[in-house]
Symmetry: C2
Subunit: 453 residues, 2 copies
């Protein structure tokens, strides 16, 4: 008999450790001790791991040393090995502590996807093997960032091929084939949240190299304060607008399935930030956090004819090239033409220009100007767009700090400005001050007291 059978009162906890948490043998042993402590409390555990440190980037570099355009299927099979490796090592480290554990690939964990290589979405989870291993008393380590897609492929019939004469072409039939697919950057967060939802876990903990979600990037704003709770929608906007702690898709999935996500540090024992449906949020009408993103470039098309179909002519080719256009601003036209501005990721600017140049020429726009030294700065809080005064306060604070606003866009829960990249730090500090984010609000104060007691 192996391991400790779960007690009827055992809680099921999903723990996810990112690449920096498992970057070295030492850190893997540290992570194992953390898991062992949770296990000793009697919890049933499913642990999701990313690849060690920079493994994914190193494998990508290797593929690009071979060919400029690696085949997406081969690339996914290559990248998926990073998580297989870290999962086995964490399992070994648990064994060394006397904790019964087993590592599972995404396929073994029953995770299937929609089959889009490099950016697959989890389609379904068959939880039987994971549940079986838990019931057998094991901590289950799951390779994050991946799942299998069942596709059909030509399969040569055995009967015709068994005594294959040289050169005979075997007959073909279609058959199911399992292929490894990866979920894209940050995909291990998604694996953890999806497993937590499917298994009905009591908690889903995302361990990372920061203590939780902050009102602003602490590297920019020394007074940035950790939040004890944040709503799904606010977290989604924070992540989407540049906060890199949590993967956007994982937050969406948590929101849809009502999974309470805790973001916390793998290096210190401290309470983290809970991401959950927050009933107070709707009435709070308060700026909860700031996000900024330097990976932004601005493109302006000057004197664009003001007639139907022009926007499609511009944006369809960019979409076809998988360039993610973010903010789009078009002012009211004057004299039959208008200026059209939008942002793209900085790394995509050169490609976007190559695509747009012939269009600008063919359609007779006056010119295209681009600026790669801009950044996005956003304030985020549920309900702030409907509440009066937030936009005015934001723009006023930026003006007082001498920061010029180049573009503005808003959503239900955020107001985003484009400013010069050099102004990011000034802008974020000014806004942190203007919205008094260093002062705990009642929810966080209560949580902080509870944590301290």
């Amino acid at each position: 008999m192996r391991g400790m059978p779960p007690t009827p009162s055992a809680q099921l906890v999903v723990m996810k450790f990112g690449g920096s948490s498992v970057a070295t043998a030492d850190r893997i042993r540290h992570v194992a001790r953390r898991i062992a402590r949770e296990r000793a409390r009697g919890s049933d555990l499913v642990v999701v791991v990313s690849a060690m440190g920079d493994t994914t980037d190193e494998l990508l570099a290797l593929a690009h040393a071979i060919t400029d355009e690696p085949d997406p299927r081969e690339l996914d099979l290559l990248l998926g090995t990073g998580e297989h490796q870290s999962a086995t090592l964490v399992s070994m480290a648990l064994h060394a502590l006397g904790v019964d554990a087993i590592s599972l690939t995404g396929a073994q964990a029953g995770i299937s996807t929609d089959g889009r290589y490099g950016k697959a979405r989890i389609a379904d989870i068959d939880p039987r093997r994971v549940r079986g291993e838990i019931a057998a008393g094991r901590v289950v380590i799951v390779a994050g960032f991946q799942g299998i897609a069942r596709t059909t492929t030509p399969i040569a019939g055995e009967a015709s091929g068994a005594d294959r004469p040289a050169g005979a072409i075997p007959s073909e039939t279609a058959a199911d084939v399992a292929e490894l697919t990866t979920l894209g950057r940050g995909g291990s967060d998604t694996t953890a949240v999806a497993l937590a939802a499917r298994l009905g876990a009591d908690r889903c903990q995302i361990f990372t190299d920061v203590r939780g979600i902050y009102t602003a990037d602490p590297r920019l704003v020394p007074g940035a304060r950790q939040l004890s709770v944040i709503g799904y929608e606010e977290m989604l906007e924070l992540a989407y607008q540049g906060a890199q702690v949590m993967n956007v898709r994982a937050v969406e999935l948590g929101w849809v399935d009502g999974v309470v996500i805790e973001v916390l540090s793998s290096f210190e024992d401290a309470p983290g930030t809970l991401i959950k449906e927050d009933p107070i949020v709707e009435q709070r009408n308060k700026v909860r956090g700031l996000a900024h993103d330097r990976n932004v470039a601005k493109i302006t098309l000057v004197d664009v004819p003001d007639r139907p179909g022009v926007a499609r002519t511009v944006f369809q080719p960019l979409a076809d090239a998988a360039i993610n256009v973010d903010m789009i601003v078009q002012n009211v036209g004057h004299g039959g033409s208008t200026d059209l501005s939008f942002t793209v990721p900085k790394v995509e600017l050169a490609k976007a220009k190559r695509i747009l140049e012939p269009i600008v020429r063919d359609l007779g726009f006056r010119e295209m100007t681009t600026d790669s030294s801009v950044a996005k700065v956003s304030i985020i809080g549920a309900g702030i767009q409907n509440a009066p005064g937030y936009a005015a306060r934001m723009f006023g604070a930026l003006a007082d700090a001498g920061v010029n606003i180049e573009m503005i866009s808003t959503s239900e829960v955020r107001i985003t400005t484009i400013v010069a990249e050099d102004d990011v730090e000034t802008a974020v500090r000014a806004l942190h001050e203007a919205f008094a984010l260093a002062t705990p609000d009642p929810v966080d104060a209560g949580a902080a007291e509870a944590a301290a007691s």
Copy 2:
């Protein structure tokens, strides 16, 4: 439509590339060009690859940095990633040359094993997917060194677990589970030969960092000559007695299934050595090659009681500890006791001594002496044991060279001596001279002429 359909006259060739052949991105591109050339000749191709360079050793070191005794299942899942990586990279490199290709894991290639982690044997190959990909016009790259084992594991029933209340124990049933197993050192050779047998390949080529099989190690004997043909049994003894070019198990498998194996260089275009059933061999009665092995230690038990059961008392505990005892020599007893000598791998000597010390004490042997500075030197050739004069000529040549023989053992196709490790080079050179191995025999001379013409 992708790729070129196989023509009715297409030959099926299995090509295997070892770790040094795919150690860097540059070498992978070189290997891809070699594969593309063979493809351009119209052959259908299955390519088996090992892990890049020292990847397997690096992964082993990582595992041992985590724990002294890595779990065999986890270790196999970890090590198997090395071949997944190299297979995808070779496939990408072929794509870059415009050759349609696909990489398959051992599981995807239908390779199943007997399930012994770290030393699995191939139990069966389901060739349908590989045949289907070939029929679709693709070069198939298979991750060597691995296969899957289907085992049973407790599986929690879905019905009872779907709405898992916290702490409920799901019911269990047994179900099939696929686990990755590795074939042990040199296992990719075995993968290639087994695939060639199952697919009825016309050729099985093992590409390595030497040009083929030599009469002796060319680093020791400058006049060592490459053989154009060698019989399975001779090759098996050469491999077993220390020649490291081919994996023993792969040669056995080739022998059983009648697969003609060609060993050749991946770095230069030159004819290699064919390993096959050689009808001439039986009448040849000739020394074909020399092998030496420095990984040998000698243990002598002095004044062992000469009565039934003593040998078992000594060797059973060593077998239980998986220590591979090789040569055993026991002289005729005198006065009720005898001396018992045997060899073990040098790296196992300390372990063997720990196991034997209490036995020596309990059974009242006079003493145990060990010597780790010995080596094996063998002459190999089908039929040489039955032919008169080979043993005498061997011992005479060693005596003339001043090499003292410490132990002797013989088989149908070889004579092996244990000598001082410092004498290995002298011994091998003297034997190469004594048996005129630098002079081509008719078979090899004919092949050399054919190659030169």
